[in-house]
Amino acid sequence: MGYKITAKENLSVIDFFMEVEAPHVARSWKPGQFIVLIVDEKGERVPMSVYYADKDTGRVGMFIRRHGVTTFKLWYEKQVGDELLSVAGPLGKPIEVKHYGNVVFAADAVCAQAECYATLKAMKEAGNYTIAIHSFETKDHVYPEKFLSKPVADEFYITTEDGSVGRKGHYLDVLKELIEQDKVDIVFAGGKLGSLKKLAELTRPYGIPTITTVRQIMVDGTGMCGSCRILYDGEIKFACRDGPMFYAHKVDWDDVIRRDSRFAEQQAFARERYLAKLREKGVI
């Protein structure tokens, strides 16, 4: 037992790349699906998007943001060769990979940067014209070239809020132009929930199908607890089981956004406690 970490690399001031050996997951993963991992005996179950899942090597790659205790542990305590307690999946429903025409993937946070590559790779293989838009805050957040979706994108954009790399602005600005040029048949997106809400409003008037990750706080990830419940077209759905990709126009975004910080107090407390320990040990 145990799932070995086979590679790890820093991506930016806040994000990193990690690869684990999880052949049971790699063999059956499809774009749209996620995994759940546990760092150690005392760890929680955290969902992660998949950057790639290689059937031949049995390895699964992901991008991770140093958010809080779990992800700090992954960064500071777990090195290549160490093992994770649990890697389960693939979970959730795959997206439909078929010919749509011009497919956009828009990403403005760590999970989505991974999904962008994974999704467009499959979409390109299915004969679509693929457009990737990676948005970052500033140049310190931008990933090294080899981790961007360029190889799987027919058209490729980077934006930063301050214009320090690529275009100044956000994927919403690029997308608006693409839509006005009539270049968009379907939009996939993930990342910041606030942007996804705006994205839904942007594409709604044009009637462009918009499918986005609805990231909610999860426990089991298999439909057993309802932690990840959302209102979708007025009905209760579980993001882990019925999603995590949903038509953005039917999602009640305000509740989704609020529920993402349900445990903010506890998380902040645990984060500070952990950082204090790191400081004590002289790690940081």
């Binding site: 037992m1 049971h24 997951v25 059956s28 699906q33 546990i38 760092v39 005392k42 760890g43 929680e44 179950r45 205790v69 779990t70 307690l85 649990s86 890697v87 389960a88 999946g89 693939p90 979970l91 426990v219 089991d220 298999t222 439909g223 057993m224 607890c225 309802g226 932690s227 419940r229 959302i230 209102l231 009905e235 209760i236 089981r241 009640d252 509740d255 609020r258 529920r259 349900r262 445990f263 107090e265 506890q266 998380q267 407390f269 645990a270 406690r273």
Partner: protein
């Protein structure tokens, strides 16, 4: 046994941790018998002949109850021998007595028809069963017995068991004893099903489960954790690799109330609450990473075992707790012992209240629950409960935490993926009298076919299915060889 015994009307009591102590921690509440008191209780049993003994009929798996109780008295001078022989009798029908002795609703099953009820208290069968199992575990008696029971033959075939709850664990154990190679596929990172994620430590210490799992491993059962069948592997793939499959995936999907406010913060399903607290040990946060947010006033909606477990866990996390149930006191479905414990610990009960709306504050956190008052009718429903109707009157109770425990239904991950698998409208799997599903070679049992039921019924199914699987594989082999 020729000696005629005197009728002793009252049970030998079992000690319990004081209320003050237990509301502060997750230690087990009931401490059980020691050998001397177990023998004393065992002596009260009238040793009804097995062919008549009503207690045996009351137990869903028909344990030879006078048989095992008799061994405790017969070998009273040699505790190890007494327990070993008693355990041997129990194991004929039940491989998890440490669990069932603690969680069976004995008052409705084995103890209900006990003849002693006519003159006094029924024999405390549950606690005796638990005593035998606990004593055996602590004194390595299980291992000895297990050694004697090791299968003479193995390699009779390969079976995949899906789900490591009581149904799956029992099925796997029985098949291993019959000489089959068994692999269990479990979605979570720990085996046990509800026993590990739902039922709290104060009712079922987790070390018991660890030991049960170790027993299975000794019998050669392999357990693959983190495998969600229907996602990680499909049923079809399992059928290609194994001679038969048993599905014991339980009923783990919580029913939620689709009423206004259901998305407010601090409204949990009992499953979310209990999984965070028990499986993920949020009660030890921040030592453990799992968070739980709980306020000072919790309302638990429902009145089954799940509701009691949630209520008593919330209490231990420092909240005041009220259970609100839409029916009356006598309609509560939890075990009597749990209701009593909850009351002793200070859980309050409100009856005939049906929730209609959750009211939130400006931060989206629940602050009250609006209920409609209900009224019972004389007429009874299928389950014998009085029907209820709304009165049109409403009451609002303050609450900063709400736990919804109104029931569970089967998880549909497998049935959605394996389209040949027939289900009933409530999501339970359709099975025939041999517990075989609509797909040949695929069997099922436990909550997956019954909806929310009990541990002992799940185990009974696991055992029956093991026999049916054995027959199925043998027949298939015979056909292939003919």
């Amino acid at each position: 046994m020729a000696v005629r015994r005197k009728l002793i009307k009252e049970r030998v009591p079992t000690p319990e941790v004081s209320v003050e102590e237990r509301v502060k921690s997750f230690v087990e509440v009931n401490l059980g018998y020691d050998f001397a008191s177990a023998v004393k209780e065992a002596e009260r049993c009238l040793q009804c002949p097995p062919e008549y003994a009503p207690c045996i009929k009351g137990c869903p798996v028909h344990i030879n109850i006078p048989g095992f109780i008799g061994k405790l008295v017969e070998y009273r001078d040699d505790p190890n021998k007494a327990v070993k022989e008693a355990l041997r009798v129990i194991w004929n029908d039940n491989t998890l007595p440490a669990v069932t002795g603690r969680v069976c609703p004995q008052e409705e099953q084995c103890e209900a028809p006990c003849v002693m009820n006519k003159v006094g208290d029924p024999i405390n069968i549950g606690k005796l069963e638990r005593f035998v199992a606990d004593y055996a575990r602590k004194n390595n008696i299980e291992d000895q017995l297990l050694e004697e029971m090791k299968p003479a033959v193995c390699g009779k075939g390969r079976v995949a068991v899906v789900g490591a709850g009581p149904a799956g664990l029992t099925c796997a154990g029985e098949l291993a004893k019959l000489g089959y190679d068994v692999t269990i596929f479990e979605a979570l990172h720990k085996p046990g099903g509800v026993l590990i994620y739902g039922i709290p430590e104060f009712r079922l210490p987790k070390e018991i489960l660890d030991k049960e799992i170790e027993k299975l491993r000794k019998l050669g059962v392999e357990i693959k954790l983190d495998h969600v069948v229907g996602k990680t592997v499909t049923l079809e793939e399992l059928l290609e690799e194994y001679d038969a499959v048993f599905i014991g995936t339980g009923a783990g999907t919580p029913k939620l109330l689709n009423i206004p406010g259901i998305l407010l913060d601090r409204i949990y399903s009992a499953n979310e609450f209990l999984t965070r607290v028990n499986l993920m040990k949020a009660y030890l946060f921040p030592e453990y990473d799992e968070p739980i947010a709980i306020g000072k006033k919790t309302i638990v909606i429902g009145a089954g075992n799940t509701a009691m477990d949630a209520a008593r866990s919330a209490l231990r996390l420092g909240s005041e707790v009220t259970i609100a149930y839409r029916r009356g006191r006598e309609d509560m479905t939890a075990r009597i012992e749990e209701i009593q414990h909850a009351e002793e610990e200070g859980v309050k009960f409100e009856f005939f209240l049906n929730p209609v709306e959750f009211i939130g504050d400006e931060n989206g956190r629940v602050k009250a629950v609006k209920f409609e008052k209900m009224r019972p009718l004389e007429e009874r429903d299928k389950r014998g409960k009085r029907k209820i109707v709304g009165t049109g009157e409403y009451v609002t109770l303050e609450a900063d935490t709400v736990i919804i425990a109104i029931g569970l239904e089967p998880n549909r991950i497998i049935s959605e993926e394996a389209t040949g698998l027939k289900t009933n409208p409530d999501g339970t799997l359709v099975v025939d009298e041999n517990l075989m599903t609509s797909i040949p070679g695929v069997f099922a049992g436990g909550d997956a076919i019954r909806g929310e039921a009990t541990v002992i019924l799940a185990m009974g199914d696991g055992k029956r299915a093991a026999k049916a699987i054995c027959d199925y594989i043998e027949k298939k082999r015979a056909k292939a060889n003919a």
